[in-house]
Symmetry: C2
C-alpha cells in the first residue's frame, strides 16, 4: 500500500529491489578498485581539490535512480579508500564484511534501542555482547554495560556515572554545586580543595579532558600524571599526587575521585600498569576507569590479556571500541561497568516512554535507554555480534596476535634501516611504531624531517600515515593494523627510504 | 592481498560479493513480508517470548556463510517489522531507501568524520546539509552545525555550549565551580541563587533534564514552566518565573541562563510560541534553544513553517532529527547554531589529531570533531543528504503537509466515533492524536480503558501504539507518520472500535 507522501510513492521493497543490488555492485567494484596494488589511498592531496570535485547542492526537485546512483558513485570516488589497506593514519582500518551486513540489517530494522518493545532482538544482542565482553575482562556477576556512539562518549558517561556515585550521590540532583557543599560539609574540604578532581596520564586521550568539560568539572579539574619514556603512567607520580591532594583539604587542584588508566595510548600504544593503579584507587577511594578504546581488544588473546591487561578486572568501568581493532564499522563502543546498579543512576521518569515502573529502577532493566544519559540509540552491538559469530572468540585473539607479530617485524626492519630512526616506543611493543627519517633531501632533520616526509607521502597518495608529537619531537606514528598484510608495511618502508634519497 | 589475520583470510570484495547480495535479497523479502496486509507488526507479544526464541550465544569458533545468514534471518524474524507501516508507537517509522543506501555507503567508506583528511566527502556532505538546514530556519550568515548521535545528544551539547558561553566563559576551564564564583562575585548572586538554571516547559522531553544532569548542573537546576491545555509553554508563567528568579539574587532555584522551547512535544506535538519566548530570552539575556527534534522537519513546508515555526530564526541553537519525520535511518540528528564560533568553545589541543593549528580556532574548521565534545563520529548526514537529493526540498514539504492532512482526517473520524473519546490535543493539530475508548468490555473506563485497549492491541500484534499520561489521564498517543497510508489509521480505528464491543 502506498502513502500520500511523495516519500512513499511506491512500495519500499520495490524501490529497494531496484536500488540496493545496483549499489551493492558499485560498492563491490569500489572495494576491488581499492584492492589493486597501485590504487591511491585518497583521490586528492588537498582540501581544495576535494571542494572543487564534489558537487553538493541540494535540489528543489527530485532526481532519477540513475542520477542518485551517480551521486553515490561521486561520493565514493572522492573518499579515502580503506580497501587499499594502506590507510594507516588512524586507529581503525577497513571493516569486516559481517559488520557491513550488520549496518544493512540495522537500516532495514530501523529500530531505536531505547526500549525493549521497539527493538527486542537488538536489545538481546546488546545484552549478549555485554555479557561476553564482561566475562572476558573478568568482571563479576553484577557487571553490565551499554553501547555508546564512540569512545569519547563512553569515557564521558563513565565520568558522569562516577560523579553520580561519588560523595554520597548528590551530583544527580544537585550537580557540582551540591558536590561542593558535600565536600565542604562532610569531607572538610575548603575552597578549590572542595572541587572533585580527575587524574589521568599525560599520554591519555583528550576525551578525558573533554569529559571533564562536558560534566561540569571543567578542564582544570583534570590532573595529568607524568608518564614514563614508554608512555605508561608513572605509579610513583600517581601515588605522590593522590597523597598530596587527598591530604590537603585546601589543595588547589581539588579532591581526587576518579583515575583514568589507559590501555593502549593513542600515540605509543602504551598500557598503564593496572594492578598498581587499582591498588592506589582502592587506598584513596577513587573510581578506576580503564580507557581501553584502542587496546581493549587485546583481551581476546590469552597471551596479550595476561601481559597487557592484567588487573583490568579491578576496574569500576571500562571503554572498549570494537570499531578499532576488531574491524567493526563505525561507531561501535562499549562502556562496561563492574556493578550494574551504577548505570541506573541515569534512570529517569518519563511516563510517555518507560512503562511498568522501570523508571524506578526495580528489576532488570530491559529498556536500555534507562542506562544512558541519552534516549534513542542505534543498535551498534549487532555489528560486533555478527563479526564475533562469524569468526569466533579464538580467531579474534589470533587476529590480535598476528598484529603484534607484524608490528615487531616492522620494528626490526626499521631498526635495521640506516635511513630511519626509531622514536619513543611502548614496552612491550603493541601496534604503534614511531619513527622518522634521519635526514630528508636538503639536509632536513628531526621534527622537520617528519613533516617533510609526511608532505611527500600526502602528495604521492599511496600511503596515509599520521605524525604525532612526542617528548622527543614529531615522529611518524605508524599504526600496525592486524588486518593489514605485513607486505604493505615493508613496501611503505621501501617507499620512505626512497623518498629520503631523492 | 590477504593478511595474516583470520579476519582477512580472503579479499574483502570477494567476501562482500558472496554475502551482500544474499543479504539484500533477504532484506527485500522481509520488507515484502511486512508489506502484506495481515503481517504482524511484531513477532511476539511478550519479552519472555523473545528471550525464548533468539539463540544468542557467541561461539569460540567460526561458522559458515549459510550459518551466518541464518543468524541474520533469525534476528529479522524476531524484530519489529517497520515495513508493515503499522508500527505507530514511536516518533519514527520505516526509513527511506535512499537513507538505507547511505548506511551501505557509510559502511563501505568506514570513515570517522572527525578530521577532514579521513573523511573529505562526508565532511563536505555534512557542511552542505548544515548550510541548507540553517537557510531553511532563517539562521544568519554565521550559522553552523554538526550531526550528533540523537536528539538527546544534540540537546545536551546545546546546554554545554550555552554554559561555555554564559557568564564570561568560565565553564570550559573551571566548570560549575568557576561559574558559581562568577555569579557571586560579578553578578551579586548568593547561595543557591548563584546556581545557573535552565527553564523548559512541563511538556518538554526528558532529555533536557538529562542534559542538566550530564553537564553538572544537576536535575534540580531545571525549572519546569507550566504549559497550557494544548501542551504549549505558558508565556505568562515563563515571564513571571524569569522576573522572579532574575530579580532575587538569592532565589533558591538559581539564575536563568537557558530557555528550551519545544517545537513538537513528545505527547501532544505542541509547538511553544517562539516569538514571545524569544523576546523574553532577549530581555533576560538567556540562550534560546529550540528542541525541534520532532517538529523541526515542518520547516520544509512553507505553510507549516509560517504557522508552527515562526520566530525560530531568533534561536541561538536548534535540534532537529531527520530520523524522525524525514524518515532517515537511525540515528540522524543535527545541532544547529546561530553563531559558528560558539562551537569552537569545544576545540581542544591534541597534537596527535588536529594539525595546522586548528586547535587554536583560527579560520574555518574543517576538522569537525573540533566542534563537539566527542571525537570520532559516523557520517550520519549522508543519509539525509541522499534522501534530500533523491526527492528534493519541495517533496519533503509535501510529505509533511500530507501527514498533517491525514492527522486532521483521522481526528475527524475519532470525533465522529461514539465509541471513542478524544484526549488533549495540540492547537493547531500536528501529528499526534490522544484518544481512548469510552468503555472497554467489562465496563472499564478512563485510564484503565487505555491500558486495556493497549493490552489487547499488544496481543493481536497488528498495530503497535503507545500510550501516554496527560493532564487528563492516560490516553493512546496515536502518531500520524506522513509516510504511513491513511487507510492504516482508519483500519486501526475500526479494529479498536471492534475491541470495545467484544
Amino acid at each position: 500500500m502506498e502513502g500520500a507522501s511523495p516519500l512513499h510513492a511506491e512500495t519500499s521493497s520495490a524501490e529497494y529491489a531496484r536500488l540496493a543490488p545496483r549499489l551493492c555492485a558499485m560498492i563491490e567494484a569500489w572495494m576491488r578498485e581499492g584492492e589493486q596494488p597501485d590504487a591511491p589511498v585518497m583521490p586528492h592531496a588537498t582540501e581544495r581539490a576535494y571542494r572543487e570535485h564534489v558537487r553538493l547542492a541540494l535540489p528543489d526537485d527530485g532526481v532519477s535512480d540513475d542520477a542518485l546512483l551517480a551521486v553515490m558513485r561521486e561520493l565514493l570516488e572522492n573518499s579515502v579508500n580503506p580497501w587499499t589497506d594502506r590507510f594507516l593514519a588512524k586507529l581503525y582500518s577497513a571493516p569486516t564484511v559481517a559488520s557491513m551486513c550488520g549496518d544493512m540489517l540495522l537500516s532495514a530494522m530501523n529500530a531505536s534501542v531505547h526500549v525493549f518493545s521497539a527493538s527486542p532482538a537488538l536489545t538481546l544482542v546488546e545484552e549478549e555482547c555485554v555479557r561476553a565482553l564482561c566475562a572476558l575482562y573478568g568482571f563479576g556477576a553484577h557487571a553490565d554495560g551499554i553501547t555508546m556512539p564512540g569512545g569519547a562518549a563512553s569515557n564521558t558517561l563513565a565520568v558522569q556515572t562516577a560523579l553520580c556515585c561519588a560523595f554520597g550521590g548528590a551530583y544527580r540532583r544537585g550537580g557540582i554545586f551540591a558536590l561542593l557543599r558535600t565536600l565542604t560539609e562532610q569531607y572538610g574540604r575548603v575552597g578549590s580543595g572542595a572541587r572533585p578532581a580527575l587524574l589521568t596520564s599525560a599520554d591519555s586521550h583528550f576525551s578525558i579532558d573533554r569529559a571533564a568539560l562536558a560534566s561540569g568539572l571543567g578542564m582544570d579539574a583534570v590532573v595529568h600524571i607524568e608518564s614514563d619514556e614508554h608512555g605508561r603512567m608513572r605509579v610513583d607520580a600517581l601515588e605522590r599526587t593522590l597523597a598530596e591532594m587527598c591530604g590537603d583539604p585546601a589543595h588547589p587542584r581539588g579532591m581526587p575521585f576518579f583515575v583514568n588508566a589507559t590501555s593502549g595510548t593513542t600515540v605509543l600504544g602504551a598500557f598503564d600498569p593496572l594492578p598498581a593503579i587499582a591498588a592506589l584507587c582502592e587506598k584513596y577511594h577513587c573510581w578506576l576507569h580503564v580507557d581501553a578504546s584502542w587496546g581493549g581488544a587485546a583481551v581476546f588473546s590469552p597471551t596479550l590479556r595476561d601481559t597487557l591487561l592484567r588487573g583490568v578486572e579491578r576496574a569500576q568501568s571500562l571503554t572498549v571500541n570494537p570499531h578499532k581493532l576488531l574491524n567493526v564499522t563505525h561507531q561501535c563502543s562499549f562502556l562496561l561497568v563492574q556493578e550494574a546498579h551504577v548505570l541506573s543512576e541515569h534512570a529517569i521518569h518519563a511516563g510517555y516512554l518507560f512503562h511498568d515502573g522501570q523508571g524506578a529502577g526495580q528489576g532488570p532493566v530491559a529498556d536500555h535507554a534507562m542506562k544512558t544519559l541519552g534516549c534513542g540509540r542505534r543498535g551498534e552491538a549487532l555489528k560486533l555480534y555478527l563479526t564475533w559469530r562469524q569468526v569466533g572468540t579464538r580467531a579474534l585473539g589470533a587476529h590480535l596476535d598476528a598484529g603484534v607479530r607484524v608490528a615487531n617485524a616492522v620494528l626490526a626492519a626499521i631498526r635495521a634501516n640506516d635511513a630511519l630512526e626509531v622514536g619513543p616506543l611502548a614496552a612491550p611493543l603493541f601496534l604503534q611504531i614511531c619513527f622518522r627519517p634521519r635526514c630528508m633531501p636538503g639536509g632536513v632533520t628531526g621534527s622537520d624531517a617528519t613533516r617533510a616526509l609526511e608532505a611527500r607521502l600526502q602528495e604521492a597518495r599511496q600511503y596515509a600515515v599520521d605524525f604525532a608529537p612526542t617528548r622527543r619531537g614529531d615522529y611518524v606514528r605508524l599504526v600496525v593494523h592486524p588486518r593489514v598484510p605485513a607486505a604493505h608495511y615493508f613496501a611503505l618502508l621501501d617507499h620512505v627510504t626512497a623518498l629520503t634519497r631523492e
